[in-house]
Symmetry: C2
């Protein structure tokens, strides 16, 4: 629990600020922004920046920064790829990577990049399909209609279509993306520099992370063309400057009901936090055992630590009584207004009672659901392959609209990419994680639970995990391909122990999922829609929708903040990074930086804080100026921004990015990445789109 | 999160039951018990059972079970001793222990046993000392008066005197104990049998733990006499039988205000749970590294896992909305009644507001307090020694009443025993734990925090921890003795790195404690008194006081329960234990039991569930029948009992004990512990005290 977080609540009772909002591109509040900052983007500006924005399907944001498919994102967004391309002999995560020619660029086994080319409203279609329905029937009909609409849109493997949910179901849109599955690694710094300061400095500021990487999308055997790229700014951002962030915030719960937030605080977050905390302890201790263990574990460990810190920040925001007090007040006001409007009152009848019942059921159901179906009992890449193969064998023969969502046609390219990626599996890490999760499974459901008995029998978790990982052939992509192509017959005939485990548990796992979807998800989803419509009806304005990993734009300024009476500056510098070097991990600058000391002026900006309203998923988002030119790269938020999941607090909530000047300076003077520097510098010559 | 816990709340709105209550011996509700069970203890009965009860100062209960100082308690209450007596060559925790003659009994380095011989009301003295005071002044005056009263009472090292707080300060009593510091190990089974089922079965039932050990108190060079011992029952308890439990429940929060409970749910428990969960992951992974690592870690790991599961149960009880709903209702009723009585209203003016303010301060203060002063940042036995030596050097020269509480005369014998115990320190485990806690310290307070900088400087946590543990001489009892006797001059001259660290951090650690005590503790304590008095005033009855690790008696019956529609029987059997054996830890019966299979009839009772209202601290409590004879040994509660911290639910809350018949049968037929068996059988001949 960080002291700084604890001051959050005092400021919550202030009105929404000019910075707040994660706006969809079709509803950007240009007038309000013009009023606040004296500048607003034109439609041309919006189109240009939207097309320059990239979504990494694994959960990050990025941008095109050259006409030849060069993509900028965070190191931590490409970390999986860098790891996949590493081996005990060639540790790219430790050394960094730079492709001196296009031929040296290496293909990332599992990265998919998307460019949003079209948005179509499909709310009417969805509403028509679910009209008059509730519970499981509502849910089934909605998912079926989504799959149908997506399948009709996705006419080739180069196109990805997702029906996206906005305003908790108040609005549905069909997002059509250009899909790139051949994504190659161009440049990455050392992990120790990307994550300088490690977990202690994560979500901290002042900060000195060079969390930068460059990828390139390819088509056929050549770099893809990307005419709608974002040019590099000639002048970097300075304190007070207006900056826009275009990216994919993963999820917020700002419109959630109080009961849903209390559920997060009391049930869901404690469950997940405790799982992650124990896993973190396990992985840290394991990784400390040898250099090779460290190599195979560090990326996973970093992800677990990041998740833990982020969720802890969320929990602390909810544990601050003032946040929920404000939410209760807002909800009371909404309900009072609903009471006063007969039609709205009818439309929302029973919402709060039904939600309370669904959440009470969820409280009892959550451990079983998480363990059996949501992965917590089977923490293993190899088991993931097995489960996917077993389910694909059952699902793919079904008509598209009747499949589980993740096996519908629209999802297949990504699913095939994940399944057939040529990335090594770290078996020792698999054993540790699977042992951990089998132990948690038994502990959570009890040794006498029939599902636990089904999985473990009389085996000890560690023995079973080792036997499964060592016995399975699913680490070999050919084995997976054979089972995918062989379908149900091949899966049923398989003697692979991991496949057999996945088959054995599938019925109960599916049943658990169905219970959850029918009893909880469908109720909360439908009522989310109803509350969203009520909000619109009584307040007359929609505002911005909760984040759903869809493309959003927002505005803010480069700005520090004040806490505990001392001021945190908006910018850090190269000089500051050298001053923070202790020689001990995680405060150890890599050799490349030690050698380059003095080559970059100490006053050159390194990282920066801005008031932009962002959240996890925004990692890798471009920060652009009024001219739509890149001035930085989002990679984090401060500790106070973690409560942004529920409410934006303008006084202290800060986005954290690598400064554009710093990015270029290090590429040039630390890494000598001249090919990348030239591509970026070339774009500095490009004319900016005109502003209003 | 265990499913079974989740059903807890539904039953909470029922009235207090016949079983509920942890009664002090001077206020046992004999009439109500007589009404419910047709039997009530006489004063003679009460005196006899009280004097037969033993308190283990480290946090457990026990009983005298022979006239020659034989003490029965749980294996887990003697585990620290068994571990202290073990070495890589002689692993008593693994093999168990049996002293075939008095000479073979081995002295436990740190166990202190107490027998409650006198209780005196000192409420008036305490009230007089704090009259008109509040905040820090209240706290200081109260502690000073306690120390003064205790010092006047403790006339020799064989006497221990504690002023104990009852009814949250509504009542104070002086408890005078006969103190035994020479406690020896007589018998212990294998750890694997004491904790059969391990963490998965902990707080579970049906259960097959043989969590039993026997100690003996010595005086001079002979076993001490214990004329007031509890005789062994000729016939064991059967379902439906009335049983009394006499022991030392550690702490409950049944009288806490709603705000205090919410603080537990939202702040204190999440903090501690996350700390323990990560520590558990660390220790498990560390222990798995080698047999020697396992040996030095298992006991500590078990304690951490037990704490984690217990606190998690507490958190889940508070996360169930129905529990707090009932508490809110109770508090609303109390406040309504207070409003109606002018004097009580005046006496409680500001209570809730002051508490809210104190808790808000505590929320901000808790991480720093826990890290700097309450041990979380310095998880190390060796650091503990250093801190004690540094503080003793400052405190002991002061007048008794002005010292920190733990350095007052009354506490010194125990403090000296802890400090000068001849027990080995496991240095590898020390390094792991100290590394862990330095990492948590930095993570929790931030890398830039002055206290963190003071501790770590530019060092990495792991390097610093290793240097301290390897560099200190405090593992040697002679080094500690020299520093204790040398006082301030010796401590200041010491070059020992652990002493130097403890000196360096002492000022800020003390300041943190003072801030906590002045701002939080004193407010909550004083207001706890005020609410307790208000309760008495408006309801006219005191009920029973919250548990405070003082001796309590309560009544219940041997009884199973029903959950999810299936019935859990009250007794398990030897046959059931063999059926649960899988051959894999933690469900592996030790060789002694495998060899003895068939020697004890399969139907012999093993463990049992009863409705007694107990909580942590009651471990090792004797279970006695109407005749005051031993019929079992408390060692646990079921999962549902964990919510008993806040409310007792008669339908499902169960105490778990080893059955008296099972204790004897295994001693005789599995372990051949004939000397212990003879002592117990001899007492079966003793006449019972008469009943009313």
């Amino acid at each position: 629990m960080h002291r700084r977080l604890l001051a959050l609540g005092l400021l919550l009772s202030l009105p929404a600020s000019a910075e707040e909002g994660m706006w969809t591109y079709d509803a950007f509040p240009s007038e309000a922004v013009k009023k606040a900052y004296g500048f607003a983007p034109t439609q041309e500006w919006l189109d240009k920046v939207r097309l320059g924005s990239v979504r990494l399907a694994g959960g990050c944001s990025a941008s095109f920064v050259s006409p030849d498919g060069l993509v900028m994102t965070n190191h931590h967004c490409a970390r999986g790829c860098i790891e996949d391309l590493s081996s005990p002999k060639e540790d790219l995560l430790a050394t960094g990577f730079y492709a001196k020619s296009p031929q040296e660029e290496r293909r990332c086994p599992k990265i998919e990049a998307n460019q949003l080319v079209e948005m179509t409203d499909v709310t009417a279609k969805m509403n028509a399909a679910t009209k008059g329905l509730s519970g499981a029937a509502f849910n089934t009909a909605l998912k079926k209609e989504m799959s149908t609409v997506e399948a009709a849109c996705a006419t080739s493997a180069d196109v990805r279509c997702d029906v996206v949910t906005l305003f908790n179901g108040g609005k549905y849109q069909l997002y059509k993306y250009r899909r790139f599955q051949d994504v190659r690694l161009v440049f990455a710094p050392e992990f120790s520099m990307a994550a300088f300061g490690g977990d202690p400095d994560n979500f901290n500021f002042p900060r000195y992370g060079y969390d930068v990487s460059f990828l390139r999308v390819w088509q056929g055997d050549a770099p893809a063309k990307s005419p709608d790229y974002l040019p590099w700014a000639k002048e970097g951002a300075r304190p007070g400057d207006l900056v826009f962030v275009s990216g994919h915030p993963g999820g917020t719960e700002r419109k959630s009901t109080v009961a849903e937030l209390e559920f997060q605080r009391d049930v869901a977050l404690p469950y997940t936090l405790l799982y992650l905390a124990e896993l973190r302890g396990t992985l840290r201790e394991f990784a400390g055992g040898s250099a090779e263990r460290y190599r195979i574990t560090r990326s996973r460990l970093r992800a677990v630590e990041n998740g833990l810190k982020a969720l802890r920040g969320r929990h602390q925001a909810l544990a601050d009584p003032s946040l929920l007090a404000r939410k209760r007040q807002d909800e009371a006001d909404l309900r009072k207004r609903i009471e006063a409007q007969a039609q709205v009152k009818t439309d929302t009848a029973g919402v709060w009672e039904e939600n309370a019942q669904a959440l009470d059921a969820y409280r009892r159901m959550l451990p079983g659901y998480r363990m059996k179906e949501a992965g917590d009992g089977f923490l293993s890449e190899l088991f993931g392959y097995a489960e996917t193969l077993v389910r694909a064998a059952d699902e793919l023969p079904k008509p598209n609209a009747e499949r589980l969502r993740e096996y519908t046609e629209g999802q297949l390219p990504a699913l095939r990419q994940q399944l057939l990626r040529a990335a090594p599996v770290a078996t020792d890490l698999e054993v540790v994680q699977l042992t951990f999760s089998f132990n948690k499974l038994r502990e959570t459901l009890g040794a006498d639970d029939p599902f636990v008995q089904l999985v473990l029998g009389k085996e000890a978790p560690a023995d079973l995990a080792r036997a499964l990982v060592m016995g399975t052939k699913l680490g070999d992509v050919k084995a997976r391909q054979a089972l995918l192509e062989g379908g149900k017959a091949a899966v049923e005939a398989s003697k692979d122990p991991m496949i057999q485990l996945a088959r054995k548990v599938d019925a109960e796992a599916r049943a658990t999922r169905k219970r959850y979807e029918d009893t909880v998800e469908s109720v909360l989803k439908r009522n989310g829609e109803r509350v969203a419509r009520a909000n619109l009806a009584v307040y007359g304005t929609a505002g911005y929708p909760d984040a759903t990993f869809t493309l959003r734009l927002n505005q803010g300024v480069v700005k520090g903040w004040t806490e505990d009476g001392h001021t945190v500056d908006a910018l850090t510098t190269f000089g500051g990074a050298y001053a923070r070097h202790t020689g001990k991990d995680p405060f150890k600058l890599p050799d490349s930086w030690m050698k380059a000391q003095g080559k970059v002026p100490a006053s050159t900006p390194f990282d920066m804080a801005t008031t932009n309203d962002i959240i996890g998923g925004n990692s890798g988002s471009p920060m652009v100026n009024r001219d739509g030119q890149v001035v930085g790269l989002i990679f984090d938020g401060n500790l106070q921004s973690l409560g942004g999941r529920f409410a934006y607090v303008p006084e202290t909530n800060r986005a954290v990015g690598v400064h554009g000047d710093g990015i270029l300076a290090a590429l040039e003077h630390v890494y000598g990445a001249t090919r990348v520097v030239s591509e970026l510098r070339a774009s500095q010559q490009v004319a900016a789109p005109s502003a209003k």
